[in-house]
């Protein structure tokens, strides 16, 4: 650089050219990270803000610490040593639903628990994502025939990713989480399912035999969930 009156020249043909050339031509690709490729040689990136947000969201997910049944044991293994979900930017279990982005539903959902799970889901701030872990969250799994079992998590809350298995191996769950991250980063929105089971006020239910029977026991304003074992798929 010359010593005249223009002290702030950044003529980039003269700055760091050697390293950059080496990188561009592939002689030295130490610095060719994904990020670099996205940035190119310029210090700016142009992107849509929501695209950026999606990318951020997918790269840092807070999971809800939520255990139901057998699958939660494998979920714990996924969080812990060896499989270490944290490596993928998704391994900080949060004890409170208010701090969590993702809920992994690991296990069989029964009638008594479903309203509570719905409540926990409702308490999570938007945007929120759901991973259904195990056959039980897909269809009721091995317990589908049970009188008390909800045939899949999707009866209660919308699910973004299903990880099949009974229980899925930790690797499978990791894959499921990675897939979810990919979807989030691509801005694919979560599916909206028709939810047959909703929390409603008891007074709003259609009157029929069972409602009449229970009218003594349940207040009009109490929240209830109505099950119809035979009707769900």
């Amino acid at each position: 650089m010359s010593s005249d009156n223009r002290p702030f020249v950044t003529d980039d043909s003269q700055v760091l050219t050697d390293t950059r050339d080496a990188r561009m031509t592939g002689e030295d690709n130490r610095f060719n990270s994904k990020l670099r490729e996205a940035f190119g040689s310029s210090p700016f990136i142009l992107t849509k803000f929501d695209k950026f947000m999606n990318w951020v969201r997918g790269s840092s997910m807070f999971m809800l610490q939520f255990g139901i049944a057998c699958c939660s044991i494998e979920m714990m293994h996924t969080y812990a040593v060896k499989h270490d979900l944290d490596r993928f930017g998704a391994g900080v279990p949060r004890a409170s639903p208010r701090q969590a982005d993702v809920i992994i539903v690991p296990g069989t959902i029964v009638s008594k628990f479903a309203p509570r799970m719905k409540r926990v889901y409702d308490q999570m701030p938007e945007p929120k994502f759901v991973i259904g872990m195990g056959s039980c969250t897909i269809s009721g799994g091995p317990f589908q025939e049970g009188y008390n079992v909800i045939k899949g998590a999707e009866e209660v809350i919308p699910v973004d990713i299903h990880v099949p298995g009974c229980p899925p191996r930790p690797e499978a769950l990791v894959y499921g989480v990675a897939k979810l991250q990919e979807r989030i980063a691509n801005g694919e929105s979560s599916p909206v399912t028709v939810k047959p089971y909703e929390l409603e006020q008891f007074g709003d239910l259609d009157r029929d035999e069972i409602v009449d029977q229970l009218a003594q026991e349940i207040d009009e304003e109490d929240l209830v969930m109505r099950y119809n074992w035979a009707d769900s798929p």
Binding site: A69, I73, V81, V110, R226
Partner: protein, 556 residues
């Protein structure tokens, strides 16, 4: 079993009464006799339950009500009280209480055995028998607004049900729940809470920082296991389910419970070689289960998600790898078959042995670490010694078994006392601790890991030298198994959490007419109020952690 250390409080012979002596003792309360495969059965009048049970308890020494089974016949309802002796569980009697078809009522056993409280509530909930004199006869597993009793004959599964969400509606809305004593505060712990080890709901009333009252609300994982087993065939369809009762890797222990009951019922002999494999696999499961118990206990007490929990998981992973080599699955093994196991050890055998040996070799060092970090740690000692005290008499009355009972000095372990598998040929000890507190229960688990390691090592030695031509892994079992009509059996094994029993009644078909699971956690969890009331909230959490419940087994 070790012979080096004679246990003075387990006399070699516990006084045994012949069936006729017992019948005499019960005199005119008995209205009939039955023969169950495991024990003599006495049919008694429905209003004499308390008399009969207290006679049996005080005069004949049957101090362990291990299970209450309820079922419906075409012409009557029936509750069966399975009694045993803590000092010698091979001595059993069944007390059969018929109840009227139209108006099924019988007397509650709660004043005699505290454990009857929950068992009878469950019988009421699922089958529909009512118990006179019961302190609190409500539904226990199903939501309180449920209609019908699902294991009764006329239950219609297709009817709609309505379940309310009342509790937890707004925790801050009404802080003072009790009208008389406005100093207390009601606190919900669960059903979604990290310290409850699953979906357990504790309704706690606090007086300042002390627990004035705690009531467990269970049933959030009631997966109808009994119904599903009743719909499965003995030979193949039931075996996958036991894995899912106590799912903390204790699969093989649970499978054994079913295998034992069914094999006794259908008179199947298991080849010795398969017994050794079973014993080895079961103990590997026990190690894995206890590791998780210890890890989560430390997590409850320290809130430390890093060191101890991770160490425990690390050691579990090793055990699970070995089990995976053996069975093909990490968690839900489905490895036992009636009459043996499904396949032989993996080839090459040497590699498997070496891997297992490596695991066992590293174990003492790992345990050393646990003792450094946990049992030798002053903070943990302060939190756990003399908290959650469970005196042995109370534990017995609640039917507590497993490490919970052994931590209260009750020397009761079915592996030794009612031997099955290969246990009585091997050299190992039953671990007991006399502290009765949270710390003792923790120590029992850690020490049991050592004993299990001993057992596995001996099994490996045996398997290594087993002559190749004798390696029969399964007995000949007919393709469809139909035990004799009306055969009834209750038999139990020592699961990871205690006595895991199965009651089965056959009706001559290839499916059981009644399948009842006696889960150790169900009984153990009942002791929680005894341990926690009057203590601080953190001690409640520690006590719950030391019980090591698993909700899949509590709710079934």
């Amino acid at each position: 079993m070790s012979l080096e250390e004679p246990e003075p409080d387990v006399p070699a012979t516990v006084e045994e009464q012949s069936p006729d002596e017992i019948a005499e003792m019960l005199s005119d309360h008995v209205i009939g006799r039955e023969e169950h495969l495991n024990a003599p059965g006495y049919v008694i009048r429905p209003d004499a339950v308390q008399d009969v049970l207290s006679t049996l308890k005080t005069e004949a020494g049957y101090d362990h009500l291990s299970c209450v089974t309820a079922q419906e016949y075409e012409d009557r309802y029936e509750s069966i009280y399975h009694l045993k002796k803590f000092d010698d569980p091979t001595q059993e009697v069944s007390v059969v209480v018929p109840a009227d078809r139209e108006n099924p009522v019988s007397e509650s056993a709660d004043p005699v055995f505290r454990t009857a409280d929950w068992h009878e509530r469950e019988a009421y909930d699922l089958v529909g028998i009512e118990y006179d004199d019961h302190p609190d006869l409500r539904r226990i597993l199903l939501p309180e607004t449920w209609q019908g009793h699902p294991l009764a004959a006329d239950y219609d599964q297709d009817r709609p049900q309505v379940v309310p969400l009342r509790e937890n509606a707004n925790p801050l809305q009404e802080d003072q729940r009790s009208e008389q004593d406005t100093d207390t505060m009601f606190l919900n712990i669960g059903p979604h809470h990290p310290a409850t080890h699953g979906v357990l709901h504790l309704k706690t009333t606090l007086d300042g920082e002390q627990v004035a009252d705690v009531e467990s609300d269970i049933g959030y994982l009631h997966r109808c296991e009994e119904q599903i087993c009743q719909n499965g065939t003995y030979r193949h369809q039931i075996m996958p389910y036991p894995d899912r009762w106590d799912y903390i890797s204790a699969g093989l222990l649970n499978e054994w419970a079913y295998a034992r009951a069914a094999e006794d019922m259908a008179d199947i002999d298991v080849p010795e070689y398969a017994q050794v494999i079973r014993t080895m696999g079961a103990e590997l499961c026990r190690i894995a289960a206890h590791m998780l118990a210890v890890g989560t206990f430390a997590l409850d007490v320290y809130g430390d998600f890093t060191a101890i929990f991770m160490y425990a998981i690390r050691d579990r992973e090793k055990a699970q790898n070995i089990l995976e080599d053996l069975t093909g699955q990490r968690l839900m093994f489905n490895y036992f078959r009636l009459g043996g196991v499904v396949w032989d050890l993996p080839e090459p055998r040497e590699e498997f042995f070496e891997k297992t040996r490596d695991f066992l070799e590293d174990l003492p060092e790992a345990l050393e670490e646990y003792h450094d970090l946990i049992s030798g740690n002053e903070i943990l000692q302060m939190r756990t010694i003399d908290t959650g005290v469970l005196p042995p008499e109370v534990a017995k009355s609640y039917g507590a078994t497993g490490p919970v009972a052994r931590g209260s000095g009750i020397d009761y372990d079915l592996r030794r006392d009612d031997p099955y598998g290969y246990y009585d040929e091997l050299d190992w000890d039953v671990v007991t601790e006399d502290g009765c507190d949270n710390y003792s229960r923790l120590l029992v688990r850690l020490r049991e890991v050592e004993e299990s390691a001993k057992i596995i090592e001996q099994c490996i030695d045996l398997l290594e030298d087993w002559p190749e031509e004798d390696r029969t892994i399964q007995a000949n079992v007919p393709r469809t198994l139909k035990p004799d009509d009306d055969a009834e059996i209750y038999s139990a094994v020592e699961g990871a959490k205690g006595e895991l029993g199965i009651y089965m009644r056959s009706d001559g078909t290839d499916k059981p007419a009644r399948f009842k699971i006696r889960s150790p956690c169900f009984s153990n969890l009942q002791t929680l109020p005894e341990m926690a009331e009057g203590e601080y909230v953190p001690d409640l959490i520690a006590a719950l952690g030391s019980l090591d419940i698993v909700l899949g087994e509590v709710d079934r």
